[in-house]
Point group: C2
Chain length 451, copies 2
């Protein structure tokens, strides 16, 4: 990839020197992604040279940018040119951009697009963003079942579809019903006079237009598909390509991570720096306030045992250790379960296998850590009995905490609540309560030996 | 996808009824992934009907299975048939399977493969598993720069390469140097007498054989590539397809989640149920013991302030709340930063923007939560001063905890330590220490007003 970095530097140099000739040479050869990277590394005033690109080149480039960058570039190019560029974009990318705009601005732009493109856009905007319909493009190429191979190749030549959608060719009948699929390779190796329906595969995996985008992405990933057709009834209405599926999987992993960290919000894409501090804080404060409530409950447990604590103040020394460790081991189990659930594992009898395994893990973890802390505590506070109380409490706590970290997300999944919401902080705080209750109960039971 | 589930049930019914005829009909049409799903839902003794499949069909099926299932099926088919099936697998999938075996068993199998296939396998086994070389397949189709389009299409027809590698056609010169790329579509729409080198794109993005697999996957995802050629020097030695890149991205997200949860281990694929409880516990105990040590340090802080605590025992009531909240807010920032770093964000000046934003977020979060807890604490313990001490401590703690959750992973990334290792439990426990120190320092300062 060093070659790519050198290339980037060369492009940037050409732009800074306003060397339009060199830039033009690059444009014919390089990928729009590289061009977008070059643009992002330039200051606003250095970006004016990009205005000399053709509308098609700018459309390709803009597809690679984030919404904020898209908007800033389109605004600088002026409304008339902006319209021409949007018309050159892939419909699904154009919809992603337009979907982010204020409704009045969106309607204004759409009213100025050419009617055919505007109709496509309006149709796509009607599908919820997180469904197959919101992900698909309506620009696809189909073959007719009753065409000969020769005719089909002829059509392919004439229409020269975008590379993006042309790895599999979907076959439809006269009613626009999806009836088969064939790869370009199968088409060109077949005898010219054969009918498409004779060589196509009739079992096409398709997704309904209303399917959740994560399910679409996971289907494509499971089958190793590069594209999947989208149907409404049996009628083919669009195509989803694997690059969009990858974006969905990435977004899903980000969301899991955010929820796991205890961050809520509609898109939870908090790693995006364009989200300001106030909005970012608003996405985090609800959980924190909830957890503050749980923290007060933990305080109640300690208040309940205040007599024990007053008699043996040294017990307070181990409060953070007990609470912390309960949270830590619970988070470990949680990570295992949440990721497994996201990946579509743990079905049927696997659930019991998982719970049994985590229970045994909890016993191991409890024994090892309990033994260590009992020795440390006994030596440090010079009390064998204190060592015993702390070690026993920690062992029991870790066992329950491991199980809680396993079972809580599984129950959530069963109740159709996203298990990632059993986020780290949530399990941590629940386990704090459990740990403190066990600790002070054990300590109170053995109180007479501690004083 | 209901259609797929119906299909699965039909296949399973056909197998249970030993209806070989129906099964054969399905086999011609369905995707190996569906066949593999059917197999997994059957008991061991019901799987014998699969033995009637052809070697090719079994090879396709086995590519879709996990290692344990692959091994169990191949063992039942016997060694001679196993060899024939392995020879029919894609070299990269065969290597993934063989790589998991004991060395002696692997060598035994390779020695019985046909020499050409064995040579491919041995070459692939030489590349580390987590590099481009370990990910690529050596089975690819190339065009010659000096061929005409007609001749190239002729070659394509004759060799009929696997669909997997035939979306882009890479072009090499007489020295096997990678010189260009062309899509099948571009080839078939070009005039037959044109030379390949006249219409190919000369700027091919390729990856070196030793590149880390995550970098490969991210490159493919950025460019939206369906395949990328792998080079050694300039010589083309393999191809990586997007389905393998997706697997790498999924694995990476799993690993981040595990590290975030405080689970170590070479592959950290703990959501895999075939990992037993002892091994699973061993992957978690190191962190827990480390964090146990930190927990004891937290105890030391409390021990240091034992006089304060002895005088105002009620301070203990708020220990878990202060420690817990410090951990919670730190984990939130951590999730944002770790995910952003994984996605390749936060370069250059973005780092400062991020730190500034998180600092402001920390102030918001601190003020809101500090205000709430000061009112609650004042009312609950009927002490305005206690409310003030707790509220002030929590505000300051949350500000520092948010910053720590941001800065620690950034420093780790700078030091080339995987920032995901600044895992939830680690930041949580560090922030416990900070929180407790701030809390008891503030309390000691205002001590005279609390008694």
């Amino acid at each position: 990839m060093e070659e790519q970095e050198t290339l980037l530097l060369e492009i940037i140099a050409a732009i800074k020197n306003e060397d339009t000739h060199t830039l033009r040479q690059f444009l014919d050869e390089i990928h729009p992604y590289d061009m977008a990277q070059a643009l992002l590394q330039l200051d606003e005033d250095e970006r004016v040279l990009f205005h000399k690109l053709t509308d098609e080149e700018l459309a390709d480039l803009i597809e690679e940018l984030d919404y904020e960058e898209q908007q800033s570039l389109l605004q600088k190019l002026g409304p008339a040119r902006g319209i021409r560029i949007i018309e050159k974009m892939a419909p699904d990318d154009a919809v992603d951009y337009l979907g982010e705009l204020e409704e009045s601005e969106r309607k204004e732009i759409i009213s100025r697009l050419n009617p055919a493109f505007a109709a496509d856009i309006n149709q796509l905007l009607r599908y919820p963003e997180n469904t197959a319909g919101g992900l698909m493009t309506t620009e696809f190429f189909v073959l007719y079942a009753t065409d000969t191979v020769e005719r089909a190749i002829q059509r392919l030549r004439e229409l020269a579809p975008d590379a993006e959608s042309a790895y599999y060719l979907y076959v439809i009948d006269e009613k626009h019903q999806l009836t088969g699929v064939i790869s370009i390779r199968e088409l060109i190796v077949a005898p010219p006079e054969t009918l498409v329906e004779q060589i196509m595969s009739e079992r096409v995996v398709s997704v309904p237009v209303e399917m959740d985008q994560e399910e679409v992405a996971r289907t494509m990933s499971n089958y190793g598909f590069l594209a999947v057709p989208v149907v409404k009834g049996n009628k083919m209405v669009g195509v989803i390509t694997v690059d969009d599926a990858i974006d969905v999987l990435e977004e899903e992993a980000s969301e899991d991570m955010m929820k796991f960290g205890g961050i809520t919000g509609t898109d939870a894409g908090m790693q995006d720096l364009s989200i300001g501090p106030l909005k970012s804080a608003m996405g985090r404060i609800p959980w924190l306030v909830l957890l503050l409530g749980v923290g007060i409950m933990a305080g109640n447990i300690i208040a309940f045992f205040e007599d024990t604590l007053d008699a043996v103040v040294v017990l307070a020394v181990f409060i953070p250790m007990i609470a912390g460790m309960a949270g830590n081991t619970g988070t470990q189990s949680l990570a295992v379960v949440v990721r497994g659930l996201t990946m579509g594992q743990f079905k049927g009898k696997d659930v019991w296998r998982l719970i049994r395994r985590e229970a045994v893990v909890g016993v191991f973890i409890g024994l090892v850590n309990g033994l260590i802390i009992s020795i440390v505590a006994a030596l440090w506070q010079k009390s064998l009995m204190l060592g015993f109380v702390i070690g026993l409490s920690l062992s029991v706590t870790l066992f329950f905490a491991t199980l809680a970290g396993t079972i809580v997300p599984l129950i959530m999944a069963k109740m159709k609540i996203d298990p990632a919401f059993a986020s780290g902080p949530f399990i941590t705080t629940i386990n704090d309560l459990v740990g403190l209750t066990i600790y002070f109960t054990v300590a109170t039971l053995f109180m007479q030996y501690l004083i």
